[in-house]
């Protein structure tokens, strides 16, 4: 039997009962559609999380204080990053001794109540240096960022994030030259940064930048820093830099046991990898839930094929009587099942694509329908056709022609 004839027979058989074929196909459409949509949403979420991690800077190594412990705190740990162990001098030492570091930006950040002309807000105030925009990927929209001169001369100047600007001065205004009051100290606004968008839990646009020295003197009253951001020259140097900073600070802080370090060095690639691992797990979870509906669809196919075989017992008997072999019969029924899943798979991919476009449109997740997920779904749907069609086809092929012809 030629493949063209098999296709013709299959088409005739499936179109003979359009409603049943259609409903069976629908099961596969929903299964494949949800797999494609879920994978694309998962990949989109993973992509946007990685993008927002990249938006805090590229090739970044972060140095943060460790957990607070010692005599005053007793056995209670206040958590990582709470201790005041990093100083301005540590940042200077990193800048001086670690040659692989392209730029170093220490910062001190704390939340303060900020007022201006009757309006007020509570936001993050970051005291930092001129290299911060380069290291942390901040771009200036209007005016300028804090200069080295500002840091040296303890200037009371501030650069606002767009959200803070909107909160204090109204949306889209340019309050350059106006003053804001932080902790009863007046600051002159010299610039507004470009919007970066939120990154999960923190809004990177709701921030006020002031010179590091000013923040230490007038706001914090000490010389500790909360984070030192170090930019590596290239991504391959990051692990080396991380190790070098670790060694340098252990030495500077006189700590012999690395387990007791009073600081921690984070590598941006580690963060990206952790986040990817999380989103990949989520994608697999979503896809497996969708996969269950695909299996249910496959069972629908098997159910329909078994009914069809029973209904067409006499026809099978006739086909065998006029010379069809087992192989011909099983191929015919198998191709019916595969054609059902093939149609279902194709329509499911279209449906999944549409769903992912809708999600991108209305939920704001940049979904990606990758070629591999389309190929995977096609393969899976064909495989489901073969797996769930195999048993009914074998049952049809093994019918005894005499009994099949007598079947009522």
């Amino acid at each position: 039997m030629k493949s063209k004839d098999i296709l013709h027979e299959t088409y005739t058989a499936l179109s003979a009962n359009k409603a049943r074929s259609g409903l069976t196909i629908l099961g596969i459409v929903i299964g494949i559609g949800s797999v494609v949509a879920m994978i694309s949403i998962g990949q989109g979420a993973s992509g946007s999380i990685q993008a927002s991690i990249q938006s805090i800077g590229s090739n970044l190594v972060l140095v943060m204080p460790g957990a607070q412990r010692g005599a005053g705190a007793g056995p209670v740990s206040a958590g990582r990053g709470s201790a005041q162990t990093l100083k301005q001098e540590d940042a200077d030492a990193i800048q001086k001794e670690i040659t692989l570091a392209q730029a170093v930006a220490p910062e001190i950040s704390r939340r303060y109540q900020i007022t201006s002309k009757g309006k007020n807000t509570n936001t993050q105030v970051v005291g930092t240096v001129a290299s911060y925009p380069q290291v942390r990927n901040v771009q200036i929209d209007v005016g300028s960022f804090i200069s080295e001169q500002n840091v040296r001369s303890l200037s009371k100047v501030a650069v606002l994030g767009p959200t803070t600007r909107d909160d204090l001065f109204g949306e889209g205004s340019t309050p350059i030259g106006q003053t804001i009051r932080i902790n009863r100290v007046d600051f002159k606004i010299i610039g507004i940064t470009k919007a970066k968008g939120g990154s999960g839990f923190t809004n990177q646009d709701d921030v006020v930048f002031v010179p590091l020295s000013t923040a230490q003197r007038f706001l914090a009253g000490d010389t500790y820093v909360t984070t030192i951001s170090v930019q590596a020259a290239d991504p391959n140097a990051m692990t080396t830099i991380q190790q070098q900073i670790n060694d340098l600070l252990l030495q500077r802080h006189n700590i012999s046991n690395p387990q007791l370090a009073d600081f921690q060095v984070l590598n941006q690639q580690d963060i990206v990898q952790t986040a990817s691992a999380v989103t990949n797990t989520m994608t697999i979870l979503l896809a497996s839930i969708a996969g269950i509906s695909l299996i249910v669809g496959g069972i629908g196919i098997m159910n329909m094929m078994l009914t069809t075989v029973t209904e067409r017992t006499r026809e099978i008997g006739l086909r065998k009587a006029i010379g069809a072999k087992r192989k011909d019969i099983s191929l015919q029924f198998l191709s019916e099942a595969v054609m059902l899943t093939f149609f279902g798979g194709f329509m499911g991919i279209v449906l999944g694509w549409v769903i992912s476009l809708l999600v991108a449109q209305f939920a704001g997740i940049a979904t990606q329908v990758s070629l591999s997920s389309v190929a995977l779904s096609f393969g899976v749907s064909a495989a489901i056709g073969i797996i769930f069609g195999y048993y009914p086809a074998r049952r049809a092929a093994s019918l005894n022609p005499i009994e099949a012809l007598r079947y009522e």
Binding site: M1, K2, D5, T12, A16, R314, E315, G317, L318, R319, K320, A321, I322, G323, A324, K325, R326, K327, D328, P401, I402, L405
Partner: protein, 255 residues
């Protein structure tokens, strides 16, 4: 009278044995109980004969038909079709024999519904793997041979009357140019008049085309359209002989 001459012509010339059954027995077992459907049956059918196998229901005639039609194999004994022993073949080998040598006509027509007449007739050739043009040609020849009117060739099989359907089935049985046409109660689902038409078709195929036809029936009247009747009862041959008063249908209208 000319018809009678035609009948004796090939019969006298051809001495080839087409079917030879030697001591065929068929036993069905269900649990402890053995049913002897056929007991030691032997007969020959020559090329070009028109034979009726007749017997009441339960006589074993259907079992015999299944064995002759290579749908089943005997429990013991030998069955030679075209001098080839087919009694020990596998299912797929039997399928090949059926495809090449046997054409079936069933009581309930067994046409594919929602499928055109031509496609129904072509079906055996599809399994034989013939080319499209070839099988269309053969299908049309077979339809002409079974006197099926040309204006219905593209109708669906389920739009036809019973007599017409049976003629499509006859065309389908002829399309692979079989050495043996096996008809199982072909008039069982038809009224007398359309039954007569179908029997007429068989007689004409036998006389004009020299087809070997084996007709299975329980009706004396139908069996008398054949040249020879093998009576079966309780799994044994009761009587085997020429029809004394042969019924000839009025097929002089077909030149």
């Amino acid at each position: 009278m000319a018809v009678v001459d035609l009948e004796e012509g090939p019969g006298a010339l051809v001495v080839n044995t087409m079917i030879e059954c030697k001591n065929i027995a068929k036993i069905y077992k269900s649990g402890e109980i053995e049913t002897h459907a056929l007991k030691n049956i032997s007969f020959r059918i020559n090329d070009g004969e028109f034979v009726a196998i007749m017997g009441p229901s339960g006589s074993g005639k259907s079992t015999l038909m299944h064995i002759i039609g290579c749908l089943d194999t005997p429990t013991s004994g030998q069955y030679l079709l075209d001098e080839k022993d087919v009694s020990k073949l596998s299912d797929d080998e039997l399928a090949d024999i059926r495809m090449q040598k046997i054409g079936f006509v069933f009581q309930s027509f067994n046409l594919l519904p929602r499928t055109s007449v031509v496609r129904n007739v072509m079906l055996p050739l599809i399994y034989a793997g013939r080319s499209e043009t070839e099988r269309e040609e053969e299908a049309k020849n077979a339809l002409r041979a079974s006197a099926f009117p040309e204006e219905f060739w593209n109708h669906y099989s389920n739009q036809l009357s019973g007599g017409m359907m049976q003629r499509v089935a006859i065309a389908r049985a002829l399309v692979n140019n079989p050495t043996l046409v096996l008809a199982d109660e072909p008039t069982g689902n038809l009224d007398t008049k359309t039954g007569e038409m179908v029997l007429d078709t068989f007689q004409r195929l036998h006389q004009e085309h020299g087809r070997t036809i084996v007709l299975i029936t329980h009706e004396q009247y139908v069996a008398e359209h054949a040249e020879r009747i093998i009576h079966i009862r309780d799994g044994s041959i009761l009587e085997d002989g020429k029809v004394k008063h042969r019924r000839l249908t009025n097929h002089n209208t077909h030149q």
